[in-house]
Symmetry: C2
Subunit: 258 residues, 2 copies
DNA sequence: GTAGTTCGGTGCGGTAGCGCACCCTGCCTA
DNA sequence: TAGGCAGGGTGCGCTACCGCACCGAACTAC
């Protein structure tokens, strides 16, 4: 297991080493393509806060998370930041590589420690240029990412910190097994682009309502249903659209070999 | 000249009928591809406020604006709205079609009357699937659109109405010839996702500063330089990135025939 | 243990933007 | 020429959120 040490093992998932199939994009590829790609994947571990790329960096790899969560952030000239979108095991980090730009004016940071499989840029582009399943899958994923960004813009304009926090927690939960999130209020504030105190207040309300429980960087979601009710429509819009674009059948990997 | 009647001729541009070459994406294509595509284009005219597609509609065409401006809006359940991005003669409306989703949870509305060339969805997909210049050009354009959306999210979070209005005016100017914009404050408010009064106030300040002049739906930009200074960094970030991804040489169309 | 640091709670004044209400002006149409 | 109405201006109270300051509790290192 390559470089799989530098923090807590990320999750109660018992597996010693994550399988590429834990990533939904890799999982839905036809077996033939999996056989071609999987040998070229490298497992990497990312501790919390690891920067995968900086704004403007030329990307050398794309990353398929299995049990890590990556935030795409924009950092302003004055240092303030805002999360543009989130990528977990449903997606891939580094779309700019195959979209042709090779870089992007944003930063990718791990928001939850864990593993990802990385693929060398050139390898991916070779595969992409075969113009088959991989191209179409990645483009559909990119469209779902576009939806998420658009909704982030809407949410930033119209919804309260309370609602946005609910949405953020849901996005995190969807990408984790279990209902525990390791994240300080300070960091959540950076991602939402609001004050730390604002998050404290919103989180306090949720705790009083019995929806979550937290202390010193550990958040436990107690009532996911309430969370969805308290969230704005943005969460559901993105969820539905992603499901439409990338239907994922958990038990696949074997049956989808056209 | 097909259906080119129903309002003012949009601009002081003297040409009787706009050329496909006025659209930057069409203009930078190699001559060989232009010869193949141009005969399949249909010129259409859009009056102000025309809805090109609704949220969830299956797209039947893509549109290459020549002298119209199209807003991509998200409309919330309660009717409030926010602009996600803008498309003018630098781009194309309907990326969801070739990205594979066929529809998108947003609405496309003309923000400035004018013309566009439309291409049937299937024709575009055929061209796209030849996997040549068109595919790569459209993907790079899509990446620039992603940049714009991301920046809109950041701008919505961190910048004042004043700054956002400046940015909005610059985006409009870049897509128009001349410095006159026909748009009521009410409509601008819908796009920015703020109150009409907020726009009145911001526009009042700009007028007092001598940067713009307006009355009853006509805005004239007097001092573009000041406008750029008063705007937030978001405008410049998107402009630079778009230029990087899609360098456009105005006088081309003939020389780029590889 | 003790000291330093991280994390979170709280209070307070300031302000940008909201919702609402109302008004004026100029244009269009009957 | 009168009315209607779209476009815009202004005022007022309210709320969400900000910036700042300060504090205490919990964890970490020595």
């Amino acid at each position: 297991m390559p470089e799989t040490r530098s923090g807590k093992p990320a999750a109660k998932c018992a597996s010693s080493s994550p399988s590429p199939l834990q990533n939904h994009l890799l999982a839905v590829l036809p077996k033939k393509i999996q056989d071609r790609i999987f040998p070229q994947l490298e497992l990497v571990y990312f501790p919390l806060g690891k920067v995968l790329y900086e704004s403007g960096d030329t990307l050398r790899h794309v990353y398929f998370p299995t049990d890590t969560i990556v935030s795409l952030l924009y950092v302003m000239e004055n240092g303030a930041s805002a999360e543009i979108s989130v990528v977990g095991n449903e997606g891939v980090v580094g779309v700019a590589l195959f979209m042709g730009g090779e870089s992007t004016p944003s930063r990718a940071v791990t928001q939850s420690a864990g593993h990802a499989y990385r693929l060398a840029g050139q390898k991916l582009k070779d595969e992409f240029n075969l113009h088959g399943e991989v191209l179409h899958l990645l483009l559909r994923y990119t469209q779902s990412l576009i939806t998420q960004m658009a909704q982030t813009a809407v949410c930033n304009r119209h919804h309260s910190i309370d609602q946005q926090l609910c949405r953020w927690l849901l996005l995190a939960m969807d990408r984790l097994q279990g209902s525990e999130i390791n994240m300080t209020q300070e960091l959540i504030a950076n991602m939402l682009g609001v004050r730390r105190e604002g998050v404290t207040e919103a989180a306090g309300k949720l705790q009083k309502l019995g929806v979550i429980n937290y202390n010193r960087g550990h958040i436990t979601v107690l009532d996911r249903f309430r969370l969805e009710q308290l969230s704005c429509e943005c969460y559901e819009v993105v969820r539905r659209e992603t499901e439409r674009l990338l239907p994922y059948v958990p038990d696949s990997g074997g049956e989808k070999n056209r």
